[in-house]
Symmetry: C2
Subunit: 137 residues, 2 copies
DNA sequence: TGAACACTCTATTAAATCGATAGGAATAAA
DNA sequence: TTTATTCCTATCGATTTAATAGAGTGTTCA
């Protein structure tokens, strides 16, 4: 199940991407438009800023804005930052690999075999989608 | 992240499928061989029996056994029983559909658009894998 | 200069979920 | 009748998640 954090984060990103100008948008405006708890959204936008997706400006006329072009923001990186590992099991994760302590041989493990395929197919979807691809015109 | 329930359930199924004979195998034996807590495995096997994957026999010489051929057990059905919805978001689920209360128009929602693709690609993997496919020979 | 504005940061809470366990009931075999 | 095994339900503790609280920091502008 996708976490609300990821869901809201993605919605906020697409909202910012759909703005005609790259000017600061206030948290309150994003929260209102996307039906998100403002306080919760605050923390999400904060991590998106710290991880290099957003810039921010304080004070009057402040807010958040995209730093890169939407077409340069890959879903693989967004998902990894908001949701964590893409793989459903650590033993098939590219960026967060961890050995199972119960499994003596990965190559003979059915779960491993299946989840490797799942990872690959999901990864392909995320690699083929940038933020720009998700904006409906 | 895949739940332990699903992971253990899958391992138990493959263990049963890899038996040369379709005779009852005791929970304790499966648990030992797959390094699973026996008590936890009990409840998992119980749901697998109630959902038509396994048969059981009580008393001495009892245990669990596969009811169908491994090649007839699709991963789509196994995953849905053990893990629940395959979709990462209810609004793109085939079997567990639910409208998002915050989202006014699914067709314009970026999350919807992305997760629809994820669902389709994952579904294809599960549809292409039966229990028989996961057994290493 | 100061007041309003809007992001920043950390801590906390409430609810839900997960993994595991407990302990007896039911049933079958020897 | 004893022993072996599954069946069933309840519960527990830990973790995670979603959300909230509230004081702090920097900006703008009159």
């Amino acid at each position: 199940m996708l976490s609300k954090k990821t869901k809201y984060g993605l919605k906020a990103l697409t909202y910012l991407a759909s703005q005609s100008k790259r000017e600061p948008v206030q948290i309150s405006q994003i929260a209102r438009h996307e039906n998100i708890s403002q306080k919760f959204l605050e923390t999400i936008l904060l991590t998106l800023r710290k991880t290099g997706f957003l810039g921010s400006k304080k004070g009057k006329g402040g807010g958040y804005y995209l730093i890169k072009e939407p077409s340069e923001i890959l879903m693989t990186t967004v998902i990894r930052v908001l949701e964590g590992p893409i793989a459903m099991v650590p033993c098939v994760s590219l960026n967060f690999y961890e050995k199972c302590d119960d499994c003596p041989d990965e190559n003979k493990c059915a779960v491993h075999k299946l989840m490797l395929q799942v990872r690959d197919s999901v990864l392909e979807v995320y690699r083929n989608n940038t933020l720009a691809d998700l904006i409906s015109e």
